[in-house]
């Protein structure tokens, strides 16, 4: 009987311990995006500075980099310069857009005036586009292939080298995954 009890106990405990060990040190908020490899949700958003509405459908055929950000987010400030450099150097076939996440338009306007911007930032009223893309927080950046498929998602401040690599993957249409 003792051997049986031990066996049943081990059968119950060992898998649970394995699961615990496998997930030890993992950020519980970090979940792989189910959006990788799927069509990017369409959007039609107004830029902060005014002007014509930007629609994803109109960007078909171009690689799109979609960066969700806010002025209150310190890591967003950190990656701002890297994104600007990448946007300036990658040419017109790669279109960069910021999507303002839970922020006030006036603050965003002031921030962009002070820091400068090589691409438009779009207003996401009610956070609907952030929800459609499965955004957890900021900064988050999505890379969309010319065919309109999400090839990778980054939930951390990016450097120029990472942006270039992710853009190459998007242009090739290969899913790089989430990070």
């Amino acid at each position: 009987m003792n051997r049986k009890v031990l066996l049943v106990g081990l059968l119950l405990v060992v898998p649970l311990l394995g699961l615990l060990l496998a997930n030890l040190g993992r950020d519980p908020r970090r979940v792989d995006s189910p959006m990788i490899g799927k069509p990017a949700p369409p959007f039609s958003l107004k830029p902060v500075a005014g002007g014509e509405t930007v629609s994803l459908d109109a960007l078909r055929g171009k690689t799109v980099v979609l960066n969700f950000w806010a002025t209150w987010c310190a890591p967003c400030f950190e990656e701002h310069g890297e994104l600007q450099r990448a946007a300036r150097s990658l040419g017109p076939e790669v279109r960069f857009f910021g999507v303002v996440y839970e922020d006030e338009e006036e603050r965003v306007r002031t921030f962009l005036k002070q820091q400068g911007s090589a691409y438009p930032s779009l207003l996401d009223d009610g956070g609907k586009i952030a929800i459609a893309y499965g955004v957890y927080g900021v900064p988050e950046t999505y890379f969309i292939s010319p065919q309109g498929v999400i090839t990778s998602k980054y939930a951390q401040p990016l450097d120029e080298a990472t942006i270039r690599r992710a853009v190459r993957e998007a242009q090739a249409g290969t899913a790089g995954g989430a990070s």
Binding site: L12, P42, I131
Partner: protein, 201 residues
């Protein structure tokens, strides 16, 4: 807000049933966000809600969605901005006629199954739902088995600490046994010295 929902519904009614899987270009009458929802989960399957029914259902559906930026809180219970946005979207979709399962499926498309506070009964989720029950039953079976074994062992042995022999106890010395049985026969009238209780057993 209500007139907006009516406009959306009117537009949605013009959408053919096979809307799921179509390109946004094929859904020109829908707003961009709603066409995305319809593309993912199909056209609305329910009646558009309004007033108190809308409030109640919004809370009910929000309670089934996990707030992605909170620790174990539902969208309905969280004050976080993202949760409020999600709750707003649930409300809009209910007002447009999408049903509970469609709304949960839409959020699942973006956030994965993680966003559901009650995982659906499929695949490994069966283990989540019934694993604890199976564990409980297995534990109960083990405890019952151990208790039964202990009870049968105790019945054969004298009470711990008791120095008095039981009515059927016989001495270890085989020479003394016949004398004791004779005494019991004479004293209690038990035939052969064996207690009637033992005979019955």
């Amino acid at each position: 807000m209500r007139s907006m929902a009516r406009l959306l519904l009117g537009a949605l009614l013009l959408v053919p049933a096979g809307v799921a899987g179509q390109t946004p270009e094929a859904l020109p009458l829908l707003s961009t966000e709603t066409s995305d929802v319809a593309r993912v989960v199909g056209p609305p399957r329910s009646q558009p809600l309004s007033g108190m029914a809308l409030d109640a259902k919004t809370y009910q559906v929000g309670a089934l969605l996990r707030c992605p930026v909170c620790q174990g809180l539902s969208v309905s219970d969280s004050p976080a901005g993202m949760a409020q946005n999600m709750k707003g979207q649930v409300r809009d979709l209910l007002a447009a006629g999408f049903d509970q399962e469609q709304i949960l499926a839409y959020f699942e498309r973006s956030y994965g199954e993680f966003v559901r506070l009650q995982p659906p009964l499929r695949g490994v989720n069966w283990l989540v739902w019934f694993g604890p029950l199976l564990g409980l039953l297995a534990g109960a079976a083990i405890v019952i088995g151990v208790l039964r074994k202990r009870a049968s062992t105790v019945a054969l042995e004298p009470e711990p600490g008791s120095e008095l022999p039981g009515p059927d106890t016989l001495p270890d010395d085989p020479e003394l046994r016949p004398y004791l049985l004779r005494v019991r026969e004479l004293a209690y009238g038990w035939p052969g010295g064996a207690s009637p209780e033992k005979e019955k057993a």
